[in-house]
Each structure stands twice: as C-alpha cells, then as structure tokens.
C-alpha cells in the first residue's frame, strides 16, 4: 500500500451510514441529474420554476415519497413490497368508512388507519420471515388480498362526503408551507436518523448485505426483517391517508401502480434491489425526479403518450449517468 489518501472515502464507498448530505451531492450523479432535469424545465417553461409550481411538484411527489420510505427500508433488507398501493387503497376505504359510516372521530380514525397499515405490514413480515415465503410472492399475494378487501368492504363503491375537519390533513399549512411538504420533511428526517444513526438502521443494512453473517453476528434477523415490513405497511397507510385527504374521497381502485412508482423512486435513488446499499435521501430525490418529470412535461403540454416515452428515456439516462459517475 504505497499511496493511501483520503480520496478513497470520497469516491469509493457508497453506503448511506457514513455520509452527510454534502457528500451525497458530490458523490451521486443522480442528484446532479435531478438538478439538470430541473434546470432544463426552468429554462424551457416560464411557469415551471415558480413558488407555486415547485410546491406543486413536491406535493405531487409527496404520496409516493412517503410510501417509498417504507419501500426503501424493505429493499435495504433485500426484500420488496408490492402490496403498498393496495394497502393504501384499503386504508383509504377503511378510513372513509370509519369516518363517514361509523362516525369515528377523525383523530381516532387516523390512528386506527395507521395501526391497520402496520398490522398488514406485520403480517407480510411474519409470512416472509417466519414462513419463508419469498417477499415477492407474499406481497404480491397481499397486493391481491388488500385490493380485494378494499373492494369488498364497501361493495366496490367509493366513499365521499368526508368530514370537513379531515380535510385539514392536506389543506393546512405551517408558516405558509403546505403541510404535505412538512410531512415529507419530517418523516424523511426521522427515517434518515433511524437508518444512519440508530442500531436498528445498522441491522437493516447488515441483513441486506449478508443475512447469514448477520445471524452469526447475533442479529435477530427475522425480527428486524419483520420490522421493515411494518414500516412499509405503516408508510403505505400514511400514503393512503394522504391520498384520501388530497382527493377528499376514498376509492377502492386508487393507488394501483403506486408500488412500481415507489420501487422506482427507491432504485432511481441508488438503493440496490439486492439490499444492503443505498440511502433514504436518494429515495427522496428519486421520487422528486418522477414527480418533476410528470409535472414538467405536463406544464410543457407534451402530449400524454409522448410524456410516457420521455419519462422512460429520462429515467434510464439519469441512472446511466449516475452509474457512470460512480464507477
């Protein structure tokens, strides 16, 4: 080892636990990619880079961003959760029924919704960890079960006429900042600390990197894995609540495709599907990239079909440059 220097730490590793926000900005092509996409839209359209539209973008990205938090945790453990979209829909309908048909007070209904989400996640985690059914199958099954459940509990009908007080959840703002942006900021900060500064976070990364070594290192692998799915169920429920509040309406068919969007946000953000590597901040950027592309192209009035083509191309290219930069 003749010439050791510090550049190694800067370029070599790409694990979340060790990095500050600043490290990321310089490390990751994807952050840069995001800025470039943003810059292009700002130049091309004058109505893109305005306070109201930027806030629009974050709000439009926020539901996927929140759901993708749990997805990140699951993917870090080398798992996957395909059921998040259906869970969101199920919780949405359940919440609607609780508030409208059962007359349960809004705060209690919200609390119960989150608990339900966590319980569904617990079931996923339990079947995966203790039943040894692959995560893909378990959560695919749950995707179907929760969707069927969402449809069945209200006979396929949506729930509307939600209480006014419920609307506050999406319409409120704090110091002029829309509350959805606050949710994103708060939960990302919390989970960033959990994943990088807390024991549980270490375990989550460790399991994803080498689950056998984790076992022999004394980690309760099954319990930690299960906890990941609880997080996922919980954040999916939160996404379902946000969705309901945003539309002021609960529909059993909503949220389909959320799972792919959430996974895409995670993977665009640099988290490996093979587990153990990645960062929650990357996920936020991933979600924002998706949201920005959709918003920007629609502001530019690109015809719908071409929007899809462009989004597909841009995602691939962005990740391509990200990889180039890191190699």
């Amino acid at each position: 080892m003749s010439t050791l220097d510090n550049t190694k730490t800067m370029n070599g590793g790409f694990l979340a636990n060790d990095k500050t926000v600043l490290d990321y900005l310089s490390d990751y092509g994807i952050y840069l990619g995001f800025l470039i996409i943003f810059a292009i839209f700002s130049v091309v359209s004058s109505s893109f880079f305005t306070v109201s539209n930027v806030s629009n973008i974050i709000i439009q990205s926020s539901i996927i961003a929140i759901i993708a938090i749990g997805q990140t945790v699951v993917i870090l453990t080398e798992g996957i959760d395909l059921s998040v979209g259906s869970i969101a829909a199920f919780i949405s309908i359940a919440l609607g029924i609780m508030m409208v048909d059962l007359g349960i007070a809004v705060p209690l209904a919200l609390f119960l919704s989150i608990v339900m989400g966590a319980i569904i996640g617990l079931i996923n985690g339990f079947v995966i960890s203790y039943g040894k059914v692959p995560a893909f199958i378990t959560t695919l099954g749950m995707m179907s079960i929760a969707r069927g459940g969402a449809l069945a509990i209200n006979g396929g009908r949506p729930v509307s006429m939600l209480p006014r007080s419920f609307g506050v959840i999406s319409s409120a703002s704090v110091f002029g900042i829309p509350i959805f942006i606050i949710y994103v900021a708060v939960f990302y900060t919390l989970m960033y600390f959990l994943l990088t500064k807390h024991k549980l976070g270490r375990y989550i990364y460790a399991i994803g990197d080498n689950s056998e070594a984790s076992r022999l290192s004394g980690i309760k692998v099954k319990a930690v894995k299960t906890s990941a799915y609880i997080f996922s169920g919980l954040f999916a429920a939160m996404g379902g609540i946000m969705l309901t509040a945003r539309l002021n309406y609960a529909s059993p068919t909503s949220g389909s495709g959320f799972e792919l969007d959430a996974i895409a946000a995670v993977v665009i953000g640099g988290t490996a599907l093979s587990g153990g590597q990645g960062s929650i901040l990357g996920t936020l950027v991933g979600a924002l990239i998706l949201g920005t592309l959709r918003n920007g192209l629609s502001i530019l009035n690109v015809p719908g079909f071409y929007q899809q083509i462009i989004i597909g191309v841009v995602i691939i290219v962005a990740v391509f440059f990200d990889k180039m930069k890191r190699d």
């Binding site: 080892m1 010439t3 510090n6 730490t9 070599g12 590793g13 694990l15 636990n17 060790d18 022999l216």
Partner: protein, 499 residues
C-alpha cells in the same frame, strides 16, 4: 532455458491504493515459483492481472518470449493460464461437474452438453486429486476444503501451461496438502509452470525452488529457497524480525470450568460429543476436513438445532436457541467462512467491526459515532489491518486483511468465551504471531478460547489442550505438553475416522 512467463513492471492502482508498483515475475516451465508477501502485499492482485480479471495501469506480460495481451479471463485461457483464486469462484447452485467444465463445456457440434462424458471425466479427475464425492453434488453443499479441492480439480481438467495456486492450502489439512504437493510435482514433470502463493513457510521447500517476495506492492527480491532460511524470508517480507518459538504451557485448572457440553448430538454430523472448557484456557480442536468440528460448534451456539445434549455455562444449564442467544451470553463464534458467514463485504470496516457490539457504542440505540470510531481505530491498529481508513468497504481488502476484520469483530464484542474457527486462514506469518499474542492477552484478561484449526503447528503453538474429532465424534483429548507431537494428533484423527 527460456522463460515461460515474464511479467514486467506491472503497476495496478485502485482508488487510493497502489496495489502493485512495477512488479516483476519470471516463471520457467516445469518449475514452481513461490510468491510471498504480507497480507495486502499485492500477490492476489498480480495474479488477477495475469488472469485478465484486472487490467494493469502499466506493464507487460510475455509468454514464451512473446508479448501477450490479456484483456479478459477468456484471453488468459487462450494463453493456457489457469488460476485457482484465493476467494473461490464457484457457482454454488451448480453441481461439481458443471463447475469443473464451466466456460469450457464438453459439447456436440450444436453446443448441446455431453453430460455423461462430463461426469465421467470429472470423476476421473476427482479421483486423481483425491476428492471422494459424487460429481453431481451441488457445490453449495460442500465444506470449504472440499470447495478448494473442486477449484483445484477445475484448474487441472484443462491442458494449461501455467497454473496459479493462490493460497490453496489455507483451508486444507495435511492429508489434502500432501496430495496437492504430489500433484504439483507431477505437473512440473509435465512441463507446466506453476505459481504458488502461501503463508505457510514450512511448505515452501517441499514445493518450489524460487521465491519472489513482495512488500507493500513493490517487488523486493527473488531468492533461491535452498539458500534462504525461514527467518530471512520473514525478514524480506516484513522488514523486521519475528519470534516464532513461543509455546503456551499453562495448563488449565479444572476447578474453574466455564463451559461444559454433555452428549451433544446433531443428525449424523455430531455424535455424542462431551467436553469442557476452563477459565483462561485455549482448547484446540483438531481433525481432518469434514470431521465435524464446525458442525459441533455451530450446534453448540444454536445455529443448528441439536437433537440432544446439554450445555452448562458457568455451571448453569443453558439453552442457546440461536447465535444471538449465545452472543447475549458472551459466547462468540467466528466463522471459518469469512465471505459467506463472516463479512459484510459491501460495508465499511467500521460497520463490520462493531456489528455484534452495538450496545457498546450506542446510547438508547443511538450510535455514538466518536466512541465507535475510537474503538475501531484501536482495533485496526492492534491487528494491523492494512486499509486507507475504517470507512473502506471490506470487499476491497486483501484476503488476509478481511480475515483480520472478522477477528476484530470478535474482539470488539469482549466476550467471555470465543470460538475461533480457522481464524488464521490466509493470514501471514507475522500477523499470525500478532494474533496469537492477542489471544494470549484475551486469556490473561479472563476469557477462554476454543480454537478450531487445521494448522497443527499452530494448535501446538497455542493450545492448552487439544481435542481431536473424527467423523462427528470426539476421539481423544490431549494435554499440550512438550512431548505431544503432530504425529500423535494426526494418527488419532485418522484412526478415529476409521472406527
């Protein structure tokens, strides 16, 4: 006589590390050339340059006097180069014979595989190397030693001009090692040139004549082994002197038994084993490959669920349901399989070291970063782990340094009882001594150690007692007195196997 292989001025740079700095290596046909150097000296990297796995920044390779361009592993095959890598390169879910012919299948003209012929030829070669398993066995079901033998078989199946062995004996016991040397000599007779990497200096004179020494990525010297003593070799390699003749002798006092195991059974892998471990004792465990040593301790710690048996920890009966249980009770097992069971290859050295001891470095679950880094710093220094810093990914370390990280993980935990499974696998002589000293220190601090090793001199060097296993049973236990010889242990191991 002309040179079979010349590597000239090879330089290879990894981010932050100059792994090779203008290194030269010459090899003649029919000869075995030994490559020696401390952990991280650059041996494996040099080999990977030869095999096309790495592209060097500069330097040339000549084969039979002609310049060779090796841009990929398949190029290397074309030049007749076969490599047995230090970290196995086998596909675990393929069978032995599929692995043996991987990349060079026996096919008909439509590229359909001739399975029968592949199996027959594999069986033939396995008999030749002395590997007695069905060729249809999946590689993942093999022990480390068996995998090593499969790697060797794989290299021998094809007509190569140059064969490289990167630490083949690190995981082998004497029996397999002997057979390997016979094979090597046979290959020499066929005119094949061999590069041989090992940290077992004792072997060298048996294998080769010349030895090239690397230190810190630099070429140091090439010496004739006949004219060079072990001490000189160590000197060249480390740049310092090492005292290698200590021997532990304080036999334990049986009144202070910390661990007692009674009649442990697990399938047909562990058969009615009973033993005890005293305070401040190092209990060596010897046996041939597959004797069931690893299975014994894995059953003990609850990684495998035992069929019967009792465990007493500090005179209390206790039941370890999982490794987590054992660790919670301060009994720590370090696996022999660093890649699959020991390391988090994609994670930093720091994260690897503290993963089992996060209690030590957290406050209500929240990491105390400074404290953690302090501990890691100390361990890295203590074990002399060669790395730019503690944030480096384990993946990029040399084999021996990876092994040290595994040991550091154990030390960090500060357990009462350690079970080391082949802890010095792939570790250089100098570092081995350092590890023995650390073990001594652990004992003095009140810990006890069970040490599984296939390296008999090592067991004799460090154990208080040595128990010998064969075929899942405990055959005998010896006090490690002056007159305990390698031969005595070996014959117990072999004899027991025949029971």
């Amino acid at each position: 006589m002309s040179q079979l292989l010349e590597m000239k001025n090879i330089t290879k740079i990894f981010p932050g590390v100059k792994a090779l700095d203008k290194v030269n290596l010459n090899l003649r046909s029919g000869k075995t050339h030994i490559l020696l150097g401390e952990n991280g000296a650059g041996k494996s990297t040099l080999i990977k340059v030869l095999s096309g796995a790495h592209q060097p920044e500069s330097g040339e390779i000549y084969i039979n006097g002609e310049k060779a361009v090796i841009a990929s592993p398949s190029d290397a095959f074309k030049y007749g180069i076969s490599v047995i890598y230090q970290e196995f390169q086998l596909a675990p879910n393929l069978t032995i014979y599929e692995n043996i012919f991987l990349g060079r299948e026996l096919t008909n003209s439509f590229n359909f595989i001739n399975k029968r012929k592949s199996i027959v030829k594999t069986k033939e070669m396995m008999d030749f190397v002395g590997l007695d398993i069905t060729p249809g066995t999946l590689v993942k079901d093999l022990t480390i030693a068996e995998k090593q033998m499969v790697e060797i078989t794989k290299a021998l199946v094809f007509d190569s001009d140059i064969i490289v062995f990167d630490e083949p004996t690190a995981t082998l016991t004497d029996k397999e090692t002997k057979r390997l040397f016979e094979i090597i000599h046979q290959l020499e007779e066929e005119g094949i040139g061999i590069i041989y990497i090992s940290h077992r200096l004792e072997e060298f004179k048996e294998v080769g004549e010349k030895c090239t020494i690397l230190r810190d990525g630099k070429y140091i010297d090439t010496v004739e082994l006949k004219e060079t003593s072990k001490e000189e070799l160590v000197n060249l390699m480390t740049g310092r002197k090492i005292n290698r003749d200590k021997k532990r002798c304080d036999i334990c006092s049986p009144d202070k038994i910390v661990l007692k195991v009674e009649n442990l059974n697990y399938k047909d892998k562990v058969k009615g084993v009973s033993f005890h471990l005293c305070e401040k004792e190092i209990l060596g465990v010897s046996g041939l490959v597959g004797a069931g040593r690893t299975e014994l301790v894995k059953t003990l710690i609850g990684e495998y669920s035992k069929d019967s048996g009792k465990t007493y920890l500090n005179s209390q009966e206790i039941e370890f349901k999982s490794p987590a249980d054992a660790i919670k009770n301060n009994l720590f097992y370090l696996s022999e399989d660093r890649k699959d069971e020991g390391l988090f290859l994609g994670h930093s050295i720091r994260n690897n070291i503290t993963i089992s001891s996060l209690k030590r470095v957290t406050n209500k679950g929240v990491l105390k970063r400074k404290h953690e880094e302090q501990i890691c710093d100390d361990l890295i220094k203590n074990l002399n782990i060669k790395t730019p810093n503690m944030h480096t990914e384990a993946l990029t370390l040399s084999g021996g340094n990876q092994q040290k990280v595994v040991i550091a993980k154990g030390l960090c935990r500060q357990a009462q009882i350690y079970i080391f499974d082949e802890p010095t696998r792939g570790i250089d002589v100098g570092a081995k001594e350092e590890i023995y000293e650390i073990m001594d220190q652990l004992i003095q601090d009140g810990s006890s150690i069970i040490m599984i090793s296939s390296d008999l001199p090592e067991l004799l060097r460090i154990s208080d007692r040595i128990m010998v296993m064969a075929d899942g049973s405990l055959v005998d236990t010896f006090k490690n007195t002056k007159n305990l010889s390698q031969q005595k242990i070996l014959s117990a191991a072999v004899g027991g196997g025949k029971k």
